[in-house]
Assembly symmetry: C2
C-alpha cells in the first residue's frame, strides 16, 4: 500500500500554553484540520499527561483517518511538539491533503524552528528495496 508519511518536529514553540497542555483543544484542531483538508476521521483519542516538577504535562492527540492517521505530541516544558500525518493512497493520491494538514497544525504552535521529513511508504519503498 503506497503512502506518504510526513513528520515535523517543532522547537521553540511560542503559542499560547493551552496548545501544549489542553488535549481537547489540540485534538479538536487536529480533527478540524483533517476534515478541512478533505480527509475522513474515523476515530480520535486524546490524552493529557500529569504535571511534573518540570512544569505542566504534555498532550497526545491521535486521529484515525480512513486514509491512515495523524498524531501530535507536545512537551510544554521544552516548548517542543512533534507532528505525524500519514496517508495511504488507497483510492487516490492524498499527499496534498497531508501537506495541508501539516501546514495547518504547524502554524498553530508558532515554532521557532521546524525539522521536516517525508517518508514514502509501501509499494514505492518496496520497489526501491528490490533494485
Amino acid at each position: 500500500m503506497h503512502g506518504l508519511h510526513l513528520t515535523a518536529d517543532l522547537r521553540d514553540c511560542r503559542c499560547a500554553t493551552a496548545w501544549l497542555t489542553d488535549a481537547e483543544q489540540v485534538g479538536s484542531a487536529c480533527v478540524e484540520a483533517a476534515r478541512t483538508a478533505g480527509l475522513h476521521v474515523v476515530g480520535q483519542l486524546f490524552h493529557e499527561f500529569p504535571a511534573t516538577p518540570e512544569g505542566p504535562g504534555g498532550v497526545t492527540a491521535a486521529v484515525l483517518l480512513a486514509e491512515s492517521h495523524l498524531c501530535v505530541h507536545t512537551w510544554p516544558e521544552r516548548c517542543c511538539v512533534t507532528l505525524d500525518v500519514y496517508v495511504c493512497n488507497f483510492g487516490g493520491d492524498h499527499s496534498a491533503k497531508a501537506a495541508a494538514v501539516l501546514e495547518t497544525l504547524e502554524a498553530l504552535f508558532m515554532p521557532g524552528a521546524v525539522h521536516r521529513n517525508a517518508l514514502e511508504r509501501g509499494e514505492v519503498a518496496a520497489a526501491a528495496e528490490s533494485r
Copy 2:
C-alpha cells in the same frame, strides 16, 4: 525532544486472516507487545473498516504510550501491513524497547517482505539541520 521513530511496511503477509481484520485482536497484541517491552500504555483506540467489493476491511490500532505511540494499519485485500513505533527518549533511551515491539509485531503478520525505516526525531535531527 529526541526520539526514535521506527516504521516497517510489510508485504505478502501470510498470517491468519484475523490478524488483518480483527481490530480487537490486533490492538490487544499491540498493547501486550508494548507492555512486554517495558513501555507504558496510556490509551488505546482500535477501528475496523467495513468490507468492500475487494474483500474484508482492514483495521487500525493506535496505542498511546507515555513514551509516544505505536500504530498498525492493515490492508487484508493486499496482504499488506504498516507498523509505526515512536518513542521519545524523555527519562531514558527507549530505542531498544521500540525495536523489540517492532520485532514482535512484525512476526505476528508473517510477512514475505519487509521495508524498514528508522527516523531520529527532535534534537538530533535539529542539530543535523543546523550544520
